[in-house]
Amino acid sequence: MVGSKKLIVYALIITLALFGLIYSFNAYLNQQREDVVLDRMEEILDEYQEIQALSMMTTTFGSDIACLSLENSLSLLDKTLWDTGLKIDRYREATEQFANDPFYVNQKRKFNRNEVIYLSMITEMQKHCDFNQTVILFFFQKKEECPDCDAQSFVLTDVNKEIDNEIAIFSFDADLDLPSIKTLKEYFAIDRFPCVVVDNMPYCGLKNRQQINEILCSKRPHSICSE
C-alpha cells in the first residue's frame, strides 16, 4: 500500500510533466507560426517597396518601361497576399484556444492596411498600364455576425485557385474597424455581409461559384467563361 501511494504521486508528476511537454511543444509551434506570419508580412512589405519604386518609374520614365515588370510583381503579390490572409486565419484558429490572440489581431490589422495600400496602387497603375486583371473586393465579418462569410471565402478561394493570374482578390475584415475599410464600405454602399465588389459594383449576399463566374464573365472575358 505504501509503495502504491508512491506510485500515485509518481503518476501525478509524470502526467504533469507530459502536460508541460505538450504545452512547451505547442508554445514552440506558436512561435514558429508567429515567425512564419512575420516573415510573410516582411516579404509583402519588400514587394510593396519594389512596386512603389516601379510606380515612381512610370511617372518619371513613362509607363512602357515599368508596366511589364509591375504586372508580374502585382500578380506575385496578389498570390502572396491571398495565401498570407488564409494562413493568418488558419494559424489564428490553431492558436486561439482560450482567447483572441493579440498577435494575430494585430497582424490582421496590418495585413488589411497593406491590402488597402495595394488596392490603391493597383487602381492607380491600371490608369497607366494596360492591366487586364479583374479586381475583386471581399468584405466580411466574424462568423457569429455573418454565418455565410466563411462560405463566401471558400468560394473565392476556389475561384482564385483556378484563375489566379486573371483576378486580384482583396479581403477586408469589417470587424477590425480600420478607418480605410470603413471608407471603402461607405464608398461602395455595403449594407450587408458577405459582400463582393467586382469592378466597383457591389454584389452583397452569398454567391456560389456559378454566380461568381457569371459576374466575372459579365465584366470581361476570363478563361472560365469559355466553359
Partner: protein
C-alpha cells in the same frame, strides 16, 4: 462554446492520462504480484457455502451445479444452496433432481423476489464461515476454492473476487467483451487491490467472509446492482476486497447489441444510484483511497462522455458545414482540396487527443500481456475494444437520462 470545449478536453485529458500513467506504473512495478498467490495456509476449519440464485435458468443450471460438484475440495466442507426465484421453466425440476441425490439444498421461492433477496435467503441458512455467491449461468474451475480461500487468511479481507471469462464465444461482440472482461473484471480489479479500491464484487462469482456479510446486513434488496453496492459497504466496514487472477470462472454474456445495452443500462444506472446512496463516502478520509477513487472514476466517465458527445457534435457540424461549402462549388472536392500539409496548422487539442489515443493503445497492449491471455486478435484489441468504448458513451448517456427522469427499468 469553444472555450468550454477546450477546458473540458484539457480536464478529461489530464484525468485519463493520469489513469493511464498510474495503470502502466502499477503494471510494471507490480507485475510479479499480479499472479502471486497467498501462502496456501491450512484453513482447516473453513466451511464454504455457495449460494446460487436462479431465475429461468433451465439451460444453464445443470452445468453450473455440475461444475460446483466437480470442485477439487473436500465435498463435506462445502455446501451448495440453489435458490429458485419463482422460475416458470424447468429450473426447479432440474435443481430438485440434484437435491434428491443430496448434492444440493434447494429453496423454492414463489413468487419471484429478485436476486438480492434470494442471495440473502441463501445467506440466512448458510452454514459456512465463507459464503460464495454466484450466477446460475456461470461455471467454475475445479481449483476455485483452493485458489481463493487462502486470501481469507488475512483477517482484513472481507471479500475475494476472481477473473471472469466469457462462456461460449460465438461472435465478434463477445470476443470484444472477452477482452473487456480480461482487462476490466480481471486486471483492473487486481490493480485496484493494491490501493484498496475494488469497487465491485462481480456477480458471476465472488466470495465473502460470512461474518462480514451478516454484519453489514447482507445484500441490498432494492438495488439492481447488488454486487456493486455491497462492495461500498464492505469498504465502509473497513474490510479489503482481494482479487485472484490465477483462475477464472466462465459466464454467459450478451451476444447482441440490444442485450448488451440492457445489461449495461442496468449496470450503469445501478452504479449511479449506488454512488448517490453512498455519497457520504466521497472524498471522505474515513473511506481511505476508495473515497477518492469513486469520485475520480465518475468524473472521468461523466466528463469523458460529455467531451465525446461534444466532439461528435462538432465533428458532424463541421462535416455538414464543409458539405454545404462544397455544394457552392458544385462538389468539386478534388480540385479544391488543399493538399499542402502545414504542420503549423495543428493545435494543442490534436496533440492531447493523439497522446490520449496512444495511452489507451499502450494500456490495452500491456494489459493483454499482463493477463497472459493473448488470444485476442488485433481487430478485437485495437478496433473492437475502442468501438465498444464509444458505444458505451451512449449507454452512459442513457443511464444518466434514466436516473435524471427517475424512470424504472427492468432487470
Amino acid at each position: 462554446m469553444n472555450f468550454a470545449y477546450s477546458v473540458l478536453v484539457h480536464v478529461v485529458w489530464f484525468l485519463s492520462t493520469y489513469f493511464v500513467v498510474l495503470t502502466l506504473l502499477m503494471l510494471f512495478s507490480k507485475r510479479k504480484q499480479l499472479h502471486q498467490e497467498p501462502q496456501d495456509r491450512a484453513l482447516d476449519d473453513t466451511i464454504v457455502s455457495i449460494v446460487v440464485p436462479a431465475y429461468n435458468e433451465e439451460e444453464t443450471i445443470a452445468d453450473c451445479i455440475n461444475s460446483l460438484l466437480a470442485i477439487d475440495f473436500e465435498r463435506k466442507r462445502y455446501e451448495i444452496i440453489i435458490v429458485n426465484d419463482g422460475s416458470n421453466d424447468n429450473t426447479s425440476k432440474i435443481a430438485k433432481a440434484f437435491e434428491q441425490k443430496m448434492q444440493v439444498r434447494l429453496l423454492d421461492n414463489m413468487p419471484n423476489k429478485g436476486k438480492a433477496a434470494c442471495l440473502n435467503q441463501g445467506i440466512r441458512i448458510a452454514q459456512g464461515n465463507i459464503i460464495a455467491c454466484m450466477d446460475a449461468d456461470t461455471i467454475v474451475p475445479k481449483d476455485i476454492l483452493r485458489k481463493l480461500l487462502p486470501y481469507f487468511a488475512d483477517e482484513k479481507v472481507g471479500s475475494v473476487t476472481v477473473s471472469v471469462e466469457v462462456r461460449h464465444v460465438k461472435n465478434f461482440l463477445q470476443r470484444i467483451i472477452q477482452l473487456e472482461y480480461a482487462l476490466g473484471l480481471s486486471l483492473f480489479l487486481k490493480l485496484l487491490t493494491f490501493v484498496n479500491c475494488v469497487h465491485v464484487t462481480p456477480g458471476p462469482f465472488s466470495m465473502y467472509r460470512a461474518s462480514v456479510l451478516r454484519n453489514i446486513g447482507g445484500f441490498d434488496e432494492k438495488n439492481m446492482t447488488e454486487d456493486l453496492e455491497i462492495a461500498y459497504r464492505i469498504h465502509k466496514a473497513h474490510y479489503h476486497i482481494e482479487n485472484c487472477m490465477t483462475t477464472a470462472v466462465k459466464t454467459i454474456t450478451p451476444d447482441t447489441m440490444i442485450s448488451l445495452y440492457r445489461q449495461r443500462r442496468r449496470w450503469y444506472v445501478g452504479a449511479l444510484l449506488t454512488a448517490w446512496k453512498h455519497k457520504d463516502m466521497m472524498l471522505s478520509r474515513k473511506s481511505g483511497m476508495f473515497g477518492f477513487f469513486i469520485p475520480f472514476n465518475f468524473a472521468l466517465i461523466t466528463l469523458g462522455m460529455i467531451v465525446f458527445f461534444f466532439s461528435v457534435y462538432l465533428g458532424v457540424s463541421n462535416f455538414a458545414n464543409a458539405l454545404s461549402f462544397y455544394s457552392l462549388i458544385g462538389y468539386d472536392f478534388f480540385n479544391h482540396f488543399n493538399w499542402d500539409f502545414d504542420v503549423l496548422t495543428l493545435n494543442s487539442l490534436l496533440f492531447l487527443g493523439l497522446t490520449g489515443i496512444a495511452g489507451m493503445i499502450l494500456v490495452v497492449t500491456c494489459g493483454v500481456r499482463a493477463v497472459r491471455r493473448n488470444s485476442h486478435g488485433i481487430l478485437v484489441k485495437y478496433l473492437g475494444y475502442f468501438l465498444l468504448f464509444f458505444i458505451y458513451q451512449a449507454f452512459w448517456l442513457a443511464a444518466y437520462s434514466i436516473v435524471a427522469t427517475r424512470r424504472k427499468i427492468q432487470w
